[in-house]
C-alpha cells in the first residue's frame, strides 16, 4: 500500500487523528530540519488548523478525499496566500503573496496539511539547492552530499520522512534530479497539464509543477489531483485521463526505446543499473528496441539559451518598487533598480540574467535565440519520430549519484553538464518520471528516467509502477529518520 493510501486509511480507521499525525510531523521537523535544512518556513499553525478541520470531518463520518489530512510541503516558488514565499532569494524575503497558486488552491480545498515551504535553489536556478539564500538542503542518505536541485528541500523532506509528499517545479530536471538523488519518485508532467498560475516564473515555456513521492502510486494520486484545466493559465490543458485508472495495467508487449545518445558519458554503475532494469522489463514481457535521437547532443546549450533568455525577461519585474527587497540608499530611480537587483539576486541568478540578456540583445538574437528555437523544433521532431517506434524511452535520470557538497561551486559548465539527461524533456514539453533503480557503492540512490510522448503521463506511470512492483524491496530504503508509522 502506498504511503498516502496507508496514512489515509489510518485516518479513516481512526487509528490516529489528523491532529496527532500533524503534531508528530511538526515535532520531527523541528529535530530533523537542523540536519537537513529542507524547510525554510514551517507553517505549524496553518497545519494544525487544517488538521482540526479534518478531524471534524472524520468525527462527523464524512468521506475524506485522497489527499485530505496528508501532511505535505510545497517548494518555496509556489505562491501561498498569507504565507511568505521567497524563491529562496534575498530579493523576495518578506514577500507575502496575496493569492494562492492554483495547485495549492486545489490541495487546500482538499484539506492538504501544509507543513511548510521547502528549500530550493534561488529562483530554481541550480542543480544542488546550494544557490539558496538559506544554504542548501542536505541529502538524508548522506549529509555530506546535496539533496539535489532545484527542488532539493522537497526531496530532502520526503526522503527524511518529514513530509509525506512534496510539490516541486521542473524547468530542466528540478523535480526528477533531486528525486533521483534522494531515492524517490519525481514526476515532470506533460507541459500544460498542471497549471503554472502562481508558480513564480523562471522559464515559462519550460516550467512545470510535479510531485515528489515515495512511490509511483503516490505520484499518480497527487498528479491526478493537480492536473486540472485552469483558466488562469493560458497554456493550461489539464490531463486527458486519470493515471490511477491504468496504473496497474499489464505492460506485456510495450516497446521500450533505448537511445545510445542517452548513455554517452554515464558513470558505469549508473549504466549497469539501467541495464538490470531492462532485464526486469523484459521479464515483464516488454520489448526493448534501439532508437536514435540525433538532436539530443544540442539539447543542453539550447536549454541554457532559452531558459536564460526567458529568465532575463521574467526576472525583470524585480525592481524594488512594489514588493521584496529595496536598496536603502540610491541616487535616482535607475540607481535604485540596479542596486536593488544587484544586492538582491545571488551570483548564479545574475549570471543567467546576463546570459539571457546577451542572447536576446541586438546583433546576437539570430545567432543564439533564433537558432536555439529552430533546434528546439528539430528536437521535438526527433522525439516524434522516436515515439513511432516505441511507447516509452528509458534513460538514466542523472549521469551520476548525488554530488558532494560544493561540487557545483567550481565550474558552471561542469555543473550545467549534469543536467544533460533531464533537459531534453522540458525542451520538447514531454512527461517523464524518475524512479529509483539501485544504489552506488556509497549507498547513494540511482535514478532511472521513463519518458513518454505528450500527454502519455498515464503510460509512463504504468511502466514505472510495474517495474517498481518487481524490485521495490531493492530500490527503496526507509531511512530511520523523521516520522515512521
Amino acid at each position: 500500500m502506498s504511503k498516502i493510501t496507508y496514512i489515509g486509511k489510518l485516518l479513516r480507521d481512526k487509528e490516529i487523528s489528523c491532529t496527532e499525525l500533524t503534531e508528530k510531523y511538526i515535532m520531527s521537523i523541528e529535530a530533523e530540519n537542523k540536519k537537513l535544512n529542507a524547510y525554510v518556513n514551517i507553517t505549524a499553525e496553518t497545519a494544525m488548523r487544517t488538521a482540526k478541520d479534518v478531524d471534524g470531518k472524520i468525527s462527523r463520518g464524512e468521506i475524506l478525499l485522497p489527499l485530505e489530512g496528508i501532511p505535505m510541503t510545497l517548494k518555496d516558488n509556489i505562491s501561498t496566500k498569507d504565507i511568505e514565499t521567497t524563491c529562496c532569494s534575498n530579493i523576495l524575503k518578506g514577500y507575502v503573496p496575496i493569492y494562492d497558486a492554483t495547485v495549492w488552491n486545489v490541495l487546500k480545498n482538499q484539506n492538504a496539511v501544509l507543513l511548510g515551504k521547502a528549500n530550493m535553489d534561488e529562483f530554481a536556478m541550480g542543480s544542488s539547492c546550494e544557490t539558496s539564500c538559506f544554504g542548501g538542503a542536505l541529502n538524508p542518505y548522506s549529509t555530506s552530499h546535496v539533496a539535489g536541485g532545484s527542488s532539493g528541500g522537497a526531496a530532502a523532506a520526503v526522503a527524511g520522512n518529514i513530509a509525506v509528499y512534496g510539490l516541486g517545479s521542473d524547468t530542466g530536471g528540478s523535480v526528477r534530479q533531486p528525486a533521483s538523488f534522494c531515492g524517490l519518485v519525481g514526476l515532470k508532467p506533460t507541459y500544460g497539464t498542471v497549471s503554472r498560475y502562481g508558480l513564480i516564473a523562471y522559464a515559462s515555456s519550460l516550467d512545470q509543477i510535479g510531485p515528489i513521492t515515495t512511490s509511483v502510486e503516490d505520484a499518480a494520486i497527487v498528479y491526478d489531483a493537480i492536473s486540472i484545466y485552469d483558466k488562469n493559465d493560458a497554456t493550461s490543458q489539464g490531463s486527458r485521463k486519470k493515471t490511477t485508472d491504468t496504473l496497474k495495467n499489464n505492460i506485456k508487449g510495450i516497446k521500450i526505446g533505448i537511445a545510445k545518445e542517452y548513455f554517452e558519458g554515464i558513470r558505469d554503475d549508473v549504466k549497469e543499473s539501467i541495464e538490470s532494469a531492462m532485464k526486469v522489463y523484459e521479464s515483464l514481457g516488454a520489448e526493448v528496441v534501439s532508437i536514435s535521437l540525433p538532436q539530443l547532443k544540442h539539447a543542453l546549450p539550447v536549454y541554457y539559451i532559452l531558459a536564460c533568455a526567458e529568465a532575463s525577461s521574467n526576472l525583470g519585474r524585480y525592481d524594488g518598487i512594489r514588493y521584496g527587497y529595496r536598496t536603502p540608499s540610491y541616487n535616482d530611480i535607475n540607481d535604485m533598480i540596479c542596486k536593488t537587483r544587484s544586492e538582491g539576486f545571488g551570483k548564479e541568478v545574475k549570471r543567467r540574467i546576463m546570459l539571457g540578456t546577451y542572447v536576446l540583445s541586438a546583433g546576437y538574437y539570430d545567432a543564439y535565440y533564433k537558432k536555439a528555437q529552430q533546434l528546439r523544433g528539430a528536437l521535438v521532431d526527433s522525439f516524434k519520430d522516436a515515439f513511432k517506434k516505441c511507447d516509452v524511452i528509458i534513460s538514466p535520470t542523472v549521469p551520476m549519484t548525488a554530488f558532494e557538497l560544493n561540487f557545483t561551486q567550481k565550474d558552471p559548465i561542469e555543473t550545467y553538464m549534469t543536467d544533460i539527461l533531464t533537459v531534453p524533456v522540458n525542451i520538447a514539453g514531454l512527461p517523464a518520471v524518475s524512479v529509483p533503480c539501485g544504489f552506488d557503492d556509497k549507498g547513494l540512490p540511482i535514478g532511472m528516467q521513463i519518458i513518454g510522448n505528450s500527454f502519455d503521463d498515464a503510460k509512463i506511470l504504468n511502466a514505472a509502477y510495474q517495474y517498481e512492483q518487481v524490485v521495490k524491496n531493492h530500490i527503496y530504503k526507509e531511512l530511520q529518520t523523521g516520522v515512521r508509522l
Binding site: Q237, P301, I321, M336, M354, S361, Y368, Y416
Partner: protein
C-alpha cells in the same frame, strides 16, 4: 570573444550594477558559457523551421468579463501599505536610463 566592455553593456541592459572587482570573473564565466552556447551555431541546417509552440498548445482564451479584482490595500501590504494608495519611492532627480 566577450570583452570587459561587453560585460558592462550587458549589465546595463540587464539593470544590474557590476563592481570593478566582479568584472574580470564575470568576463571569464560569460566567455566560457557563451563558448558553450556557440556549439549550436553549426548545428542549424537548411530546412530547420522557426518553432513557437509546444504540444500544439494554443492560448486558452476565456471570456473578457469584469471580475472581482484585488483590493488596493492588500496589494500595497507588501510595500508597508504605500502612501495615499500608491507605491512610494524616495524623491530623487533623474530619469530612467
Amino acid at each position: 570573444m566577450i570583452t570587459r566592455d561587453d560585460i558592462i553593456k550587458i549589465a546595463r541592459l540587464a539593470k544590474l550594477s557590476v563592481e570593478d572587482d566582479e568584472i574580470e570573473a564575470l568576463t571569464h564565466d560569460m566567455a566560457e558559457i557563451i563558448g558553450f552556447a556557440d556549439t549550436i551555431s553549426s548545428a542549424v541546417q537548411d530546412g530547420f523551421e522557426d518553432f513557437d509552440d509546444i504540444n500544439n498548445i494554443t492560448n486558452a482564451f476565456h471570456e473578457d468579463e469584469v471580475q472581482e479584482s484585488f483590493d488596493r490595500e492588500l496589494i500595497l501590504k507588501n510595500r508597508d501599505g504605500g502612501e495615499q494608495g500608491c507605491f512610494l519611492v524616495k524623491k530623487r532627480s533623474g530619469r530612467i536610463k
